[in-house]
């Protein structure tokens, strides 16, 4: 894949990719963009191995998810949750009530396990199908459904409205 072709594809995919990582990083936009940059470089280097078995977006999201997991493992060897204060770096929230709910939601998301959070984010924020989520996470579709169900229960417990 040529550099220009890759850039053209990235132009289309950059927004969903950055939104996915922003949600995974619980609103820390600079960290999300750093991971997005790393994952795009990694994807470009590996672009020769892209066989087109899945869509380019699914392939890119899988690489981004792996980059995120690597980053978390490097920075937090015990996969400790990101500091809740990082979730304050959020955009476009004007009213204090909406801001509070938003912050509360992201703090609740941060308390979920890695797989639960990723499944919830991909399903509700990115509108990905179960099959695509399974492909991104590299787990069976049944396990994705399980993570979604458990993630929903945990979110309801953590969010008090």
């Amino acid at each position: 894949m040529t550099e220009e072709r890759f850039i053209d594809l990235v132009k289309v995919e950059q927004e969903p990719l950055r939104r996915f990582l922003l949600a995974l990083c619980c609103g820390d936009s600079s960290l999300a963009d750093d991971i997005a940059q790393d994952s795009l470089v990694r994807a470009y280097v590996a672009s020769g191995s892209f066989m087109g078995l899945s869509s380019f977006r699914t392939w890119l999201f899988r690489i981004a998810y792996n980059c995120y997991v690597d980053h978390r493992r490097k920075k937090h060897p015990g996969l400790a949750p990101i500091d809740g204060n990082e979730a304050l770096n959020l955009e476009d929230r004007n009213t204090s009530d909406a801001s509070f709910r938003y912050q509360q939601l992201y703090q609740a998301l941060d308390r979920l396990s890695e797989n639960e959070r990723t499944a919830i984010i991909l399903f509700y924020f990115e509108d990905r199908s179960i099959k695509e989520i399974a492909s991104i996470l590299g787990i069976p579709a049944g396990t994705v459904k399980y993570h979604l169900s458990i993630g929903r229960s945990h979110l309801k417990e953590h969010i008090s409205l």
Binding site: E3, F6, I7, V10, K11, Q14, E15, R18, R19, L22, A23, G27, D33, A36, Q37, L40, V41, Y44, V45, L90, E91, D92, R101, Y102, L105, I120, Y124, F125, R152, L155, K156, I159, L161
Partner: protein, 117 residues
């Protein structure tokens, strides 16, 4: 809170990302850097192959010359030079070196051809 309320809450609070030209610019810079590194690695590999091939070709020529000398020169002079038993070992060794050089040299040339493609 039921599943529908949770779904509404999640969908309403989808994170907002603005289209950022600086992001794409940085991606482009990083990809250019990657391209530069790839080109440099390719250039180094090609140079290494050329150096290897030249060395092997020189070895092959030297091997051929030694073999020719052993086969053509008068046997008495060689016998006195290397000794009675060592003569056969020297012939076998020089033929082996020649064959190995031809094989490795050919292999290197094929690799260089692949790199150029």
């Amino acid at each position: 809170m039921n599943d529908i309320e949770l779904e509404i809450l999640l969908r309403e609070n989808r994170p907002a990302v603005k289209d950022d030209p600086a992001f794409l610019l940085e991606v482009r810079q990083r990809l250019n850097a990657v391209e530069g590194i790839k080109n440099e690695v390719d250039r180094q590999r090609r140079l290494r192959h050329i150096a290897l091939t030249v060395t092997l070709l020189l070895g092959m020529v030297a091997g051929c010359l030694i073999s020719a000398f052993i086969l053509i020169a008068p046997m008495d002079s060689i016998r006195t030079f290397v000794g009675e038993w060592n003569l056969y070992i020297a012939i076998a060794a020089s033929i082996s070196i020649t064959l190995i050089s031809v094989f490795l040299g050919g292999n290197s040339l094929l690799n260089i051809k692949k790199l150029r493609l």
